[in-house]
């Protein structure tokens, strides 16, 4: 059994939580002072997820960069693969908020979408 220590992000208390876990199975959650902490800790030790935000190169636009995000959370271990995919993308202006820049990034089932409008130059 493995012990993992986490800082809860549920509120400014920042409880230090200890989770006993083996593979996907959580045996105990201690140190939290409310239910939010318990839920956060279980999710975080079994399936940690994050939203990734970055920018992509724009061609023919009034700006050279356009900000993007993963439309939902992706598994934490895919963050750098996702960043690499984003680095290789060039989009042609015009771009509108919500336009899909990469479909199903790194097989996560999540699209990368534009978060800014860039008009054509």
């Amino acid at each position: 059994m493995e012990k993992k220590n986490l800082t809860c992000i549920g509120c400014p208390m920042g409880c230090q939580i200890t989770v006993e876990v083996e593979g996907e199975e959580v045996f105990s959650v201690t140190g939290n002072t409310c239910a939010i902490g318990d839920k956060y800790a279980r999710q975080e030790v079994t399936h940690p997820e994050r939203t990734v935000t970055s920018t992509v190169t724009v061609t023919g636009g009034e700006k050279d960069r356009c900000s993007v995000k993963t439309k939902g959370n992706i598994p934490k271990e895919k963050i750098f693969a996702c960043m690499d995919a984003i680095d290789h993308v060039k989009v042609a202006a015009p771009v509108r908020i919500g336009d899909v820049v990469i479909e199903n990034v790194c097989g996560t089932g999540v699209d990368v979408v534009a978060t800014k409008n860039v008009d054509a130059a």
């Binding site: 800082t7 400014p12 994050r50 935000t53 970055s54 050279d64 960069r65 900000s67 995000k69």
Partner: protein, 422 residues
């Protein structure tokens, strides 16, 4: 001279929300003046998510949040000037501005809304010893370079200060291939949100050293190394605790200061604690018809609160011009005092005849308080006593004052907000 009913200085989140609400409140003649080349202000470079949970009940990125308001400015046909710098605001509300196409020009405003935002504390204000090589940036400058201009400021980074922008930039630089070696924070606690410490530092194994500061910067042309040391309770470096980090970049995230040169020039009375204007219950400064909102008034941690505050400033400015540019109130003002743990309040005074049914008073605490009470006193009588599990300087607090309740205290002089252990 051209004239507008309301001139809004700044087209960031505060200016945009103020413009939209003033227009919706029935004032048509509105001009937003923005010095950058686009509307949206600082949100344009804040490409990370987490904005708008309160306002829109979803997590947006900065540019998306800004666009929710920019779109309304377009749809409502509100006028704005970009690439235009306001040079002066006079006591009688003549706004002097300039840009490349019109040169210098003046506008007579019925009301002015100050929405200039804030600036980062620069290196010059920190007294860091060492050389002055290239490679030292404020975190926000680095953020603009990386997220908007597409440049990387450096590859090996040390960050001084654990404000949210510094934390966000630690992650952002890591994403773009840089190595962030350490974040040093002078105080024994971080000024940043817990979530940012976990998701921007812990996730990437970046150490946060509390009670540490930079004691030397090496490099003549370019930063070569930075030395940090632990500080004692007197905030002075402890000899023997120095640690040297080779790096090419030092980012500073050491605090935000409301940008009030224009306000001071107009004769607006300032609060030394917030470095922002002293305002009353309608967010009006000591100059009738000059209102303030957003980070120029006091530094916020959530843009949602900026939008909410600016919406009130816009409505109140519209009311002022619709009333023939006159303030209308009865009776005297009640003074708001922050003491014993509470550092300041916004607003600073309340006039009951003019307040809304519920008035939100925002304040910050000066230290971390656990299991303490936020108390409100009407003169010597305690009227609110609310337990909070935790309060920290990085998180804005609030109390609500009810008009109905205040009506029972016609002779009230002072409302005091304080933090009590029991």
């Amino acid at each position: 001279m051209t004239s507008y009913d309301i001139v809004i200085v700044g087209g960031g989140p505060a200016g945009l929300a103020a413009a939209v609400s003033a227009k919706k409140a029935g004032t048509d003649s509105i001009l937003i003046i923005e010095r950058d080349k686009e509307l949206g202000g600082i949100l344009n470079q804040c490409i990370h998510n987490g904005f708008g949970l309160h306002t829109f009940k979803e997590e947006l990125t900065g540019p998306e949040y800004a666009y929710r308001f920019i779109e309304q400015v377009y749809d409502l046909g509100i006028e704005y000037k970009l690439d235009t710098m306001v040079m002066d605001i006079s006591h009688d509300k003549v706004v002097t501005a300039m840009n490349r196409t019109e040169g210098m020009f003046q506008i007579q405003a019925g009301a002015v809304i100050l929405a200039m935002g804030c600036r980062e504390r620069p290196r010059g204000a920190l007294n860091i010893p060492g050389y002055r090589p290239a490679g030292i940036y404020s975190a926000g400058t680095a953020q603009r370079l990386v997220n908007m201009e597409g440049y990387m400021p450096g590859r090996e980074v040390v960050i001084l200060g654990s404000g949210d922008i510094g934390l966000i930039m630690a992650r952002r630089m890591t994403f773009e291939g840089a190595t962030v070696k350490v974040v040093a924070e002078l105080m024994p606690f971080s000024g940043g949100l817990k979530r940012n410490i976990v998701q921007c530092l812990d996730d990437y194994g970046i150490p946060l050293k509390l009670s540490h500061t930079v004691v030397d910067i090496e490099g003549k042309e370019r930063v070569k190394a930075v030395t940090i040391a632990e500080v004692g309770p007197d905030m002075k470096p402890i000899p023997g605790t120095e640690e040297r980090y080779t790096c090419d970049t030092l980012l500073l995230s050491t605090g935000l200061i409301p940008e009030n040169e224009l306000s001071r020039g107009a004769g607006v009375e300032m609060n030394p604690v917030t470095s922002g204007p002293v305002v009353n219950e309608v967010l009006e400064t000591n100059i009738p018809g000059v209102f303030a909102c957003g980070n120029v008034l006091h530094v916020h941690d959530l843009v949602d609160y900026v939008s909410e505050e600016a919406t009130r400033a816009g409505e109140n400015a519209a009311k002022y011009v619709q009333n023939g540019c006159k303030d209308e109130k009865e009776g005297s003002d009640i003074r708001l005092v922050a003491t014993e743990g509470a550092r300041y309040t916004v607003p600073c005074t309340v006039n009951v005849s003019r307040m809304d049914e519920n008035l939100t008073v925002r304040f910050r605490v000066g230290a971390v308080f656990k299991d303490s009470f936020v108390s409100v006193y009407f003169d010597d009588e305690r009227v609110q006593h609310r337990k909070k599990r935790i309060m920290a300087p990085g998180e804005m607090e609030q109390v609500i004052l009810q008009k109905k309740k205040l009506a029972d205290y016609p002779d009230l002089k002072t409302i005091t907000i304080k933090i009590e252990a029991e």
